[in-house]
């Protein structure tokens, strides 16, 4: 994983541990989640059963090459489904390693198989009548293409797509705590995470203090060899992706953003990009309107709380969001009632947890993974009624 897509080794080990956790979680809970439900009606027996659909195709991305696959495969297999994996083309080694894990664990040899194919062959796989459903984690354009094909074939889809998660910092927030969480989230997986914090919306009265501390913290992060356990920012997964990110930064600067840190492509081998901070970010700039999939932070100043919430929701995405405030109750109210996203956190960074549903709204996709909700995405919820 580290060699194929550059993930710093410490993060890679954590990722594998999380995969083990999700396997254990569904091993412990699947039977309970999918237990038949007796529902009283005027029938002599009426009940709901949860039965597998068959083969589920998973189209998965390179950024968390193991986690994204296991969080789908563990519930899907425990529900009795079979799995086909079409992984990102640059992580074929990870894909085959996952297949080997299931085989070595004693699963039937063909219950989880990897297809070594490019994206142009995915449509043909979806057309196969033996494939009953599709799950995709990846970009919004990839999600649209797969959903269009699956929709034409009337096959169920779950889509976990991009995000431009807003982190709101209110005037009463513990700034040190907020900065630490904001930087950690922005730099998850060297910035290449759908639920990384991307837009930092700060109330004007604390904007200067937050920005100074944020830049200092970003500057302190070690960028380098991903096999070195002390590295905090590795290379981007591919050079073309790094170059696309740099174009977004350049375009934002051309449109008036202020560069506070980084922003220059380093010389030498590798797809490295430095921790970068942009201020004075406004609508019309890529840093405001688009997803920045790398270690680039966009700081946006808001006049007050109402404007901060409006800016947070001013996006086509809706994956995660966070708010930092000294008033936990007030933060909970904002998260519950005012932020539009699939997961809204208070005073901590957004993260996935096998026990909680995960997914987005809008251009971030639909459907849910994880928790008891996730395992019910790929089952036939069958009603049985005996008069």
């Amino acid at each position: 994983m580290t060699q194929e897509m550059g993930k710093p080794i410490a993060g890679a080990i954590t990722e594998v541990e999380k995969c083990a956790f999700v396997c254990e979680y569904y091993a412990d809970n699947a039977e309970n989640f999918l237990a038949p439900e007796i529902i009283q009606t005027d029938a002599s027996i009426s009940k709901v059963l949860y039965q597998p659909l068959g083969i589920v195709l998973a189209v998965m991305p390179w950024n968390f090459p193991l986690w994204q696959v296991f969080r789908f495969a563990a519930p899907a297999l425990m529900a009795g489904n079979a799995a086909l994996l079409k992984h990102a083309s640059n992580v074929c080694g990870s894909a085959l390693a996952i297949e080997n894990i299931f085989c070595e664990a004693g699963f039937p040899a063909d219950i989880f198989r990897t297809l070594l194919i490019g994206s142009t062959k995915v449509a043909r796989v979806i057309e196969n009548p033996l494939v009953k459903a599709v799950t995709l984690t990846g970009s919004t354009p990839a999600g649209r293409a797969v959903a269009a094909k699956a929709g034409k074939m009337l096959k169920k889809t779950v889509l976990e797509l991009g995000g431009s998660d807003p982190y709101i910092v209110l005037a009463d927030a513990d700034i040190e705590h907020a900065v630490q969480n904001c930087v950690t989230s922005r730099l998850i997986n060297s910035g290449q995470s759908c639920i990384a914090a991307k837009r930092f919306i700060v109330e004007k009265s604390v904007s200067k203090s937050f920005t100074e501390k944020f830049v200092a913290n970003m500057k302190s992060k070690r960028c380098g060899d991903p096999l070195d356990e002390t590295t905090e920012i590795g290379p981007q997964a591919r050079k073309d992706l790094r170059d696309d990110l740099h174009k977004q930064v350049q375009s934002s600067l051309d449109k008036g953003a202020r560069l506070l840190l980084g922003g220059k492509v380093p010389e030498g081998p590798g797809a490295y990009y430095p921790a970068t901070v942009l201020a004075d970010v406004v609508p019309g700039m890529p840093a405001y309107d688009e997803e920045l999939f790398g270690p680039v932070a966009a700081i946006i100043t808001a006049e007050d709380e109402d404007e901060a919430i409006r800016i947070a929701n001013d996006t086509v995405f809706g994956l995660g969001a966070a708010v930092f405030t000294a008033n936990h109750k007030h933060g909970e109210k904002i998260a519950s009632e005012q932020l539009n996203a699939g997961a809204c956190f208070v005073n901590c960074l957004v993260k996935s947890d096998p026990r909680l549903p995960f997914g987005g709204i809008g251009d971030s996709g639909y459907g849910r993974e994880l928790g008891h909700h996730g395992i019910k995405e790929f089952v036939n919820i069958k009603t049985v009624y005996v008069a």
């Binding site: 194929e4 063909d110 991903p226």
Partner: protein
């Protein structure tokens, strides 16, 4: 067409994989379907035992996985 694993830290080509053709893909899908027919009849207890084995393997392999 081939699929390439390339180290983004060094630009080194790690491995090249030959893309499966349509016939190979169809054969795999048929094999997966065959296993599904027996797998979905297994008990949750049996599936859970295998899933826990997968978790154990992940924990064992996590530090020296050369991928």
């Amino acid at each position: 067409m081939s699929l390439e694993s390339k180290n983004p830290a060094t630009d080194e080509l790690l491995q090249t994989y030959t893309e499966m053709n349509n016939q190979e893909v169809d054969e795999i899908i048929n094999c997966v379907e065959d296993d599904f027919h027996t797998w979905h009849k297994t008990s949750f207890t049996d599936r859970a035992k295998l899933m826990r084995s997968a978790a154990t393997l992940l924990k064992i392999k996590k530090k020296n996985w050369q991928i």
